[in-house]
Amino acid sequence: MSLKSGTVWQLTAMLIAALVLLPVAALVGFALQGSIGLWPHLFRNVLANALAQTAVLLAGVGTIVAVLGTITAWLIAGFDFPGRRLLGWALLLPLAVPTYIIAYAYLDILHPVGPVQSLIRDLLGYDSPRDFRLPDIRSMAGCILLLGFVLYPYVYLPVRALFATQAANLLEASRTLGAGPVKVFWRIVLPLARPAIAVGMALALMETLNDIGAAEFLGVRTLTVSVYSTWINRTDLPGAAQIAIVMLLIVISLVLVERRARKGQRYAGNARRLLPLSRVRLHGPSAWAATVFCALPVLLGFAAPAAYLVRQAWRRFVFSGIPARIWVEAGQTAALALIATVIAVGLGLLVSAAPRLHPAASTRIAARISTIGYAVPGTILAIGLLPVITFADRQISGVLGWFTEAAPQLILLGSGAGLIYAYVARFLAISTGGIEAGMERVPISLDHAARSLGQKPSGVFRNIHVPLSWSSMAAAGLLIFVDCVKELPATLLLRPLNVETLATHLYGEAARGTYEDASIAALLIVLIGILPVAFLSRSIRA
């Protein structure tokens, strides 16, 4: 009986992995269709610089997100200071701002003809930007700062969820034994948080690696930009697929190295009821320092660009009101994102539970494979999905052809199901990663106890894994929903005729330079992103 049930889990995990693997396999297929003639040119002219820029960008963004995400999470979870409750929630807000919007907003705000520099010139008595101007934000440093300040919530969210549900007893014990806050942070907090930091950093860095919008605005040339040049300007899809796959292999090996380094470090709590951490009240300057430290990322990553958008959108609203169809687009955006989120969280839960319920190489590998969709640039993954979706469509039409003369064609692609597939394949990494990190803290002895009390694996799943993963599921769902709302390249390529989302609307305006028209759509993307943040921050706090 248990063998049979194990097989079911094995099959489920492998099926989910196959969903993500198929588009990547299609990319390998594309890559093999071309020659390797591209590579000598790449080695001579491109790789040295692109690799260096990519490495600097990743190192910079990685440092900022790790430092900001971990310290803010620790301050919010472990201390009391003015504004803590509000900031605990507000620290998630930068998630709602897509990187391409923040890059555009800051370029405008900080440009020599923008408000900030104009004010400085007025104060200093200069007439023209030709006499005085600040360094250009369009630089590697600018790109690192901007991306760091919008992507740190990928670290903040899982680390805070960890502090909220776990680790209280260890922390209390070390405090009781007289360890000071600095020592507690280095000896207890960091090692405990490491899996969550790693998961969050991996997501933020993959987002950085695959970013094309902000990089284009800010003039940073990463490897991803080379993929695009090869594909678009030289119509060399095989060559582009080859670069994308090499990049994917690099990402996978980095993730594996990190996991190996972490191997054997398991910090599961014991099976007793988990107590919430009691917060230490800060006083005087240290309390205000904590407030400022937590407020800064909210101001830079959210408040400033959001205020800019509100101002732009207001002008547009006064000028021509709200375009009627924007509500339809908002509804379509939210509906597509919601369906994809539910599916991605469900599949992520199944594939993370499988290795516990049926410990075998197959289930462990399936869980790893299910996360690779995030490591491929969005458009490239979408290109890999095209043959997969259209193949399935032809099979469906073939079957329908037995029953009806005029069988509908391209049902998946034409209904939006293909696009939802793309979202799931791309963002499954977020739910698998987050839920796995959450489960690592659930002692395996709980599973064993339940099994010895007569529960089948499905019972363990229902009664142990689902309830104990609730907060990590909520966190993952939040990230995925917001990511779907912001997603542009796959949406642009795979949506049905006559369907626009807010992101594609925004892109259509921005591509034509009518940014003012786009500002209402941009603001709505941010607002829709805020809704789940508000809703879910409660369940994460619990």
Binding site: D108, V113, Q409, R512
Partner: protein, 337 residues
């Protein structure tokens, strides 16, 4: 929520299911919705044909390729000669014979077999600071040392710049083009990047004195369509139509083709014919500030101010052929680094 989702899916399925009816056609376009919509609305008023659209960017040919025989695409609309030739090379178009199209579009702006047709022209122009004493300019001058630290331009890998570089190759050969790119790179005031409008903004911001960008952006910015800020940016610049030493101004096209597996071919041809009608060509000229392909249609007054456009005589398909070489040259000289 559930009914809403079903509604979304139902609507999408309906679109898919009704693509075969006679009064509709399906347009795949990389041109932005705001530009295409007025054309399609007036087409519908004229013919009663509803146009379903999808606005795509990268990957349009791949999508049509994978949709294969079942593809609902009837008309494919895009910019840049390279993209048009690419559609033909991949076998995604079909030849169209139409008296109307042949009469309206000059021979060098359409495919001999009727696989693609240009619908509008745009020129790669020089934006210069208003107070600069400059009334004529040659593309070759961009590499001259006198402009060191004074030039702004978008990525050397952007299709508009790739086409300019490709045109340079047809005039001067690959070696000279490489030297030219190196010279331009050495003159840059900031990293190559951003968009064409940023050239105007950066000139106003004192970052550079001259830059390369398309003609129609000046019209768009001056008209106020891009908002009051862009009207300010564009006040600080003037536009000069540069030429090659031994030639004219480099132009590129926007155009369209009928898809190979078009389910509504008849309607598709009607749309193309409509797009070269006087009414549609006026929309291209007045709403998007492009040069119409059809003789006798006035350019917008804002575009007329640039002076007479002397189009470079290089064959467009020759430029398309040099695209790969141009893109690789830009990487060889590290133009964007």
């Amino acid at each position: 929520m559930r009914t809403k989702l079903l509604g979304l899916f139902g609507a999408a399925m309906l679109v898919q299911a009704t693509t075969a009816t006679a009064e509709e056609l399906n347009l795949y376009t990389t041109r932005e919705p705001k530009l295409v919509e007025p054309l399609l609305e007036s087409f519908k008023t004229d013919t009663g044909i509803t146009v379903n659209t999808i606005f795509l960017k990268d990957g349009m040919p791949e999508r049509i390729e994978q949709e294969g025989a079942a593809s609902p695409a009837d008309v494919l609309m895009t910019v840049d000669i390279g993209n048009l030739v690419d559609l033909v090379d991949r076998g995604l178009t079909q030849p169209v014979q139409s008296e109307v199209l042949s009469a309206a579009i000059p021979e060098n702006l359409r495919d001999k077999e009727g696989n693609w047709f240009a619908l509008s022209l745009r020129a790669r122009a020089l934006y210069a600071a208003k107070d600069l004493d400059l009334t004529s300019f040659q593309y070759e001058d961009l590499a001259k040392p006198e402009w060191k630290g004074k030039v702004c331009i978008r990525s050397g890998q952007h299709p508009y710049n790739v086409a300019l570089t490709a045109a340079y190759i047809t005039h001067h050969g690959a070696d000279e083009t490489k030297a030219w790119l190196e010279g331009v790179k050495a003159n840059l005031a900031r990293k190559a990047g951003g968009g064409d409008r940023d050239v105007a903004r950066d000139i106003m911001g004192g970052i550079c004195d001259i830059g390369i960008a398309n003609t129609y952006y000046v019209g768009l910015m001056r008209s106020g369509a891009g908002g009051p800020e862009q009207e300010e940016w564009v006040k600080s610049i003037k536009l000069v139509l540069p030429t090659f030493e031994n030639g004219g101004t480099q132009v590129n096209v926007s155009g369209a083709a009928v898809a190979k597996n078009a389910p509504n071919k008849e309607q598709a041809v009607k749309l193309l014919e409509y797009l070269v009608s006087d009414a549609a060509q006026k929309i291209y000229a007045e709403a998007n500030f492009e040069y119409p392909v059809k003789a006798g249609i006035e350019v917008s007054p804002l575009v007329g101010e640039f002076g007479e456009l002397k189009v470079d005589s290089t064959d467009l398909t020759a430029i398309a052929r040099e695209r790969k070489a141009a893109s690789e040259l830009a990487e060889q000289v590290g133009f964007d680094n």
